[in-house]
Subunit: 367 residues, 2 copies
């Protein structure tokens, strides 16, 4: 590795002159600057970030802590953040927790050791207290999931409303036995979603039947598959189901496809999140689309703003939270229970598409 010293030696200059020349300092003669640039290029000089960091310069690295980038939800987040940070000459350090608290702690500790400028974190359900302590020492925002102990700054979706809307849609179609497949109650997000479901039922004057609720790991497609089969196999099966996470949706779709279940005739389905392929599934999946990319971008921009503001007057530290409503995308997987259309219509008959292309209806949710 070439250093400023090397290039100083080669040109018979002092290191400081070289440093100043590279920093384009006013008081260095144009000629010296040129010679230095030349030599630097020639020797393949690359400034040493570690040294600069030690001198107190702020790092340009942002930590991103997510459960799993393999999950397309989080890969979208990673992409959006990388994009945003890239535009501001910053780097992203990728950390996967696999929803394991120990792994989360290790990563946050590493980020602290690396002196990162800031952190965007999708926390595990119940982070260790050490994580909270460490995060206090660096600017950070929570994304999607929100754990109060980690701080007030958060960007996410309105989970309660999202599932409420999904459930209400089915209620409006006339369904009375609506199943819900979601994450376990230890995850705050999952609790809110479950509440949205229950409240929608309550608002319609229906009592919620515990037999219609299946909770399990939210990041597991197999939970979704098993749960929808369990619901269908029950003595008094639901006429519709709401999926409470992206992976659960995947599992449900796979199971129904494999079992040859007729949707929406035998069962109406509302998904969570909108992925490439959800529109081709059976009659097209009615689902709640979430503005993941926009959310992550907003989160990144906010963090950047905070970092820059912090450099000046350190007063822009007021708690901030942002919620995005989802968007209900109406496709073919939902219909009135036992409806005529559901029984007579051939599912996905290619000659006569149910709707012309691009005619999907989008319904904005109330904030």
């Amino acid at each position: 590795m070439t250093t400023t010293k090397d290039i100083a030696a080669q040109l018979n200059l002092s290191v400081s002159t070289v440093g100043r020349a590279l920093a384009d300092d006013q008081r260095i003669s144009a000629e010296t600057k040129f010679r230095v640039q030349q030599a630097a290029e020639e020797l393949g000089y690359v400034g040493n970030r570690a040294a600069r960091l030690m001198r107190g310069e702020r790092s340009t690295v942002i930590g991103l802590v997510v459960p799993d980038v393999g999950n397309s939800f989080y890969s979208t987040v990673a992409h959006a953040l990388a994009e945003t940070m890239n535009a501001h000459k910053r780097q992203v350090m990728l950390c996967e927790t696999g929803d394991d608290r120990q792994a989360e702690l290790r990563h946050v500790r590493d980020l602290a050791a690396a002196q990162v400028a800031g952190v965007v974190i999708v926390p595990t359900p119940k982070p260790l207290t050490a994580v909270a302590r460490l995060l206090k020492t660096m600017p950070h925002v929570q994304l999607v999931r929100r754990v109060p102990s980690l701080g007030p700054h958060w960007f996410g979706v309105d989970d309660r409303t999202v599932i409420h809307t999904a459930t209400s849609h089915l209620l409006e179609l006339g369904h009375e036995r609506i199943g819900y497949i979601g994450g376990t109650r230890d995850i705050p997000t999952a609790t809110k979603r479950l509440a949205g479901y229950s409240e929608a039922l309550a608002a319609a004057g229906l009592s919620s039947d515990p037999g219609l609720v299946q909770l399990g790991p939210p990041s597991s497609a197999s939970h979704g598959a098993a749960a929808v089969r369990a619901l269908r196999a029950a003595p008094d099966p639901p006429t519709a189901v709401v999926a409470g996470s992206l992976q659960i949706t995947r599992g449900v779709l796979d199971a129904l496809h494999q079992d040859g279940t007729q949707v929406p005739r035998q069962l109406s389905v509302v998904g969570f999140g909108d992925e490439p392929g959800f529109s081709w599934w059976g009659p097209g999946l009615t689902t709640v689309a979430l503005p993941v990319h926009a959310l992550a971008t907003a989160c990144g921009v906010w963090l950047l703003h905070r970092l820059e503001a912090q450099t000046g007057s350190g007063s822009v530290d007021e708690p901030f939270a942002s919620v995005s409503p989802g968007t209900l995308v109406l496709r073919g997987s939902t219909a009135a229970p036992g409806s005529a259309s559901g029984t007579t219509r051939r599912r996905q008959k290619p000659e006569t598409p149910r709707r012309p292309p691009g005619s999907e209806r989008l319904t904005d949710l109330p904030a």
Copy 2:
């Protein structure tokens, strides 16, 4: 930020004693060690990586340079690598190029400045020469795409064979007019894939009709959509198409779904890569599955091995290249041209699934 100095002051010790205690050095008394550990915990001490780096310690960070993590192909790569590095207490720095050479250079320069231990890179089509120069100074491997100027180490798939097999499958079914939708020739990978297509045709004694080949940006779904529509609209349209990239496959599927094209009756389709959802598309997509996760993991493991070997005798630097064959997954989207089954069979009739679940045939390709 607490430093060793702070904790030394608090305990009336010297920094060196504290350092040794934290490093669990032999010659420090158990009691002193304990007190130091205590104080460190209490003050929330986190070792400063930058300082250690300056002392010549190797970084634990690995750079990952990809076109776009939003692309599920690369998000799988990122996941696999994060997982692998995580298991070895290493971090991953995520860099997106968007297939832009300037962005690629900036990122590689940043990685060099950060003194990363190694780099896994999916290079842009024609990297700037500065990128090659920089990469020479650090251990690196190319992934998927291969550019000779960047070095000999590479992990990828056998692109030629993959598309050759896809094409041969259609030829065996009796197709004679087979379209190919791929990436432009400036991308090495795309060139090899095109060669696989041409060679398969040649081997069957068919001359390749330039009108059946549509080249464009490989990461653009809209290219795939436009291309398949163009092929179908041509005076003498193909009876089958092969898609030459993941995003192209997505575009093709979307277009055919929107247009209500009957697959495989009107057109047989072979995809590239296997994604969640490809099995539900229409009659199920016949496609070439690629072992992306395994490939990226192998790549990561190799790099780790190299890094550790390098510490000892620096002789394990022999060129290495690994190719993985794909796996042809046979589903419903391919059939003989104008075949009886294609014309009479109802597409994806749910009551009687074409095949029982899990009965997809997998065909291993020859290496």
